[in-house]
């Protein structure tokens, strides 16, 4: 649809005459006092001199059409005169507009809204900084509380005999977050393998060490990139879905319904998601590792002419099981972060649709931040442990 902004039109342009003669203010209005004319009439009224009048006559009997905006101008003028201690000796209107004027006089308080002054002072900046800091601190505190709650509930679910793990729901989540993510994770890992092999070969060629491309690819992909990229994709794909699903349930009062029926929200909604993701993300990471290396293998075949048996032999010399494990051991931790943040933000959704969108965005950003921060922590840990 195109956006036209037609002008409001009137049949009879509004007329306004004002005069001040011998202390008597006379206002004669005619024509169509409609919204379309109000802007012009307003500026004319503002320039008319009515301050020193002792008596005023408002004659609007020649008005042919009037709406509430036009009526407001007359009413405002009348009130301004009365505030200035001017006696209104005559106020005439066509009969058919009397009820409109009465309605407005009865209802309208007559005070215009004062727009809030823009606050851009230094104090305001400080205030916002403080509020922002406090918000982050509260968020972190609440997330920590949620972490504790989830941990306790998980342990209870595992060890307490009277409760059992929601097994079917967990399997469903593994399918939802793992199986259906295979195509996108595979495609991106494959492309990343190609890019990495190409860039590696390009740079290492300067030292005549193209063959180390394979070492670079194997170690880089298995230790860091495979896990990181998979986790980031899953954060965008499943973390956001967790927040949106739980958030929508919150908007629909489903969560409240669960609580009144006596279902444990953490057990029913949160645990299956987190546990499911903790199972599927390591599997996805392994899959990404394999596909990424195949991507690199294809690229080295075409750019360096390395055959598949050669590639395998060199790769076998460059990596061992530990290289793979170092990458895989991080995946459940990433999964826990994604699931925790996704569910946490979902449960914080307020009962309006806008809040779902806002918190979903926030959940993805926070999850990715936590993934990268965790990855850095792991790097430090591994370097201390000399792995």
């Amino acid at each position: 649809m195109k956006n036209y902004a037609p002008k409001l039109r009137v049949d009879n342009p509004a007329t306004l005459q004002t005069e001040l003669r011998g202390g008597q203010f006379r206002l004669i209005a005619g024509g169509d006092w409609l919204l379309a004319e109000v802007s012009r009439l307003d500026s004319e009224l503002n320039t008319s001199d009515m301050e020193h009048a002792r008596e005023a006559i408002i004659d609007a009997s020649a008005i042919t059409a009037m709406d509430s905006a036009g009526a407001w101008l007359l009413l405002r003028t009348r009130r301004a005169l009365e505030r200035g201690n001017t006696r209104i000796s005559e106020f005439t209107l066509p009969d058919r507009y009397i009820s409109l004027m009465e309605t407005m006089q009865r209802d309208h308080v007559g005070e215009a809204l004062e727009p809030l002054p823009p606050r851009r002072s230094f104090e305001d900046l400080l205030e916002r900084l403080g509020r922002g800091t406090m918000h982050v601190a509260h968020q972190a505190y609440d997330l920590l509380g949620f972490l504790g709650q989830v941990t306790i509930e998980t342990l209870e679910a595992i060890f307490s005999p009277r409760r059992e793990l929601p097994f079917r729901a967990v399997v469903h989540q593994v399918e939802e977050t793992g199986l259906t993510a295979l195509p996108i994770v595979g495609l991106l890992a494959f492309l990343l393998g190609i890019v990495l092999a190409y860039q590696g070969a390009d740079q290492l060629e300067r030292f005549g060490a193209q063959i180390y491309t394979i070492n670079f690819l194997g170690i880089g992909f298995l230790r860091e990139l495979g896990g990181l990229v998979t986790a980031i994709i899953v954060a965008g794909r499943s973390g956001s879905a967790f927040t949106a699903q739980i958030g929508t349930m919150r908007v629909n009062e489903e969560i409240d319904a669960m609580q009144t029926i006596g279902l444990n929200v953490t057990e029913v909604l949160v645990l299956p998601r987190i546990l499911g993701l903790m199972i599927s993300l390591p599997l996805l990471t392994f899959f990404a590792d394999v596909v990424g290396i195949i991507g690199g293998m294809v690229m080295t075949y075409f750019s360096l002419g390395v055959t598949i048996p050669q590639f395998m032999r060199i790769l076998g010399g460059a990596i061992d099981v530990n290289t793979l494990m170092v990458g895989l051991v991080k995946a459940p931790v990433f999964a826990f972060m994604i699931g925790l943040v996704g569910c946490f933000e979902g449960l914080r959704v307020e009962r309006n649709a806008a809040s779902v969108g806002k918190l979903t965005t926030r959940s993805v950003v926070e999850a990715i931040f936590l993934i990268i921060a965790c990855d850095a922590a792991f790097s430090i840990l591994f370097s201390i442990l000399d792995i």
Binding site: W72, M104, H108
Partner: protein, 258 residues
């Protein structure tokens, strides 16, 4: 029989409206007239196409067949420009108010004003305050966001926005649904009062039999994909089973005898 009203007196004239949605015929060659200055209530069972009718008239749904004239202009043959000009002459109150959630109530009311007029900022604020008090909201509602208002207040604010350009024709979709009886009664009075003092034509979809009794001049009943029009007294004499059930059921009798 009343004489057929002259076309100039009609705000809305629908002829042969055919709406088919998802394979279901909703309106089967339906005819309807709404006269200028009257309050027309539209009732019907769930799924009888009340809201679809409203949406067809305001152009949110394109009907399969038929003609819809608003103020004597055929809406289906209009170009965008003419349709925009026509939109200035009507206001629509949606079921939940449909306020823009990122704007305050006052800003919501000013959205149509900013688009179609060049009023000064001061006058714009005055008019927003005027509409807010006309629909019976407290003054401090102006600066509140829709999420801070109750359901009834949101509807009032939606009505204030619908009235922003002082339209001649007002469409109301279930204006009292979800309101408590006291708020609903107040809303009925408000609509009747505004309709009389602003000289509005009102097209109102409703389920609420009290609202029908309190505000409408005539009622259109959607039954069997078609329409039966009349005053309450006339409809009571109609022997259509749905209409009998509707007006003579326990709720109907209680409301009409009140």
């Amino acid at each position: 029989m009343r004489p057929e009203p002259h076309d100039d007196d009609l705000a809305i004239r629908i002829r042969g409206l055919l709406n088919i949605l998802g394979g279901n015929t909703i309106h089967d060659h339906l005819d309807m007239d709404v006269r200028r200055g009257e309050v027309m209530g539209v009732v019907g069972g769930s799924g009888s196409g009340k809201s679809v009718l409203l949406r067809s008239i305001v152009g949110l749904i394109t009907p399969r067949e038929g003609s819809i004239e608003v103020f004597g202009q055929e809406t289906r043959e209009m170009n965008d420009e003419a349709l925009s000009a026509l939109r200035l002459r009507w206001g629509v109150l949606f079921q939940e108010g449909a306020l823009f959630s990122s704007h305050t109530v006052a800003e919501n009311i000013q959205v149509p004003l900013r688009r179609y007029t060049d009023l000064s900022e001061r006058l714009m604020n005055e008019i927003a305050a005027l509409k807010i008090s006309l629909v019976g909201l407290p003054e401090d509602a102006a600066r509140k966001f829709p999420s801070e208002l109750s359901g009834g207040m949101r509807k009032r604010a939606g009505l204030a926005r619908a009235l922003a350009l002082d339209p001649e024709l007002l469409f109301l979709d279930e204006p009292t649904a979800g309101l408590d009886p006291i708020s609903a009664t107040q809303f009925d009075e408000l609509i009747r009062n505004l309709q009389q003092s602003l000289g509005l034509t009102v097209f109102m979809v409703t389920h609420d039999i009290d609202t029908l009794r309190a505000t409408t001049d005539r009622i259109s009943v959607l039954v069997n994909k078609s329409i039966i029009v009349g005053t309450i007294a006339e409809l009571l004499k109609n022997d259509d089973p749905w209409i009998q059930e509707y007006f003579s059921g326990a709720r109907g009798r209680a409301a009409l005898n009140a």
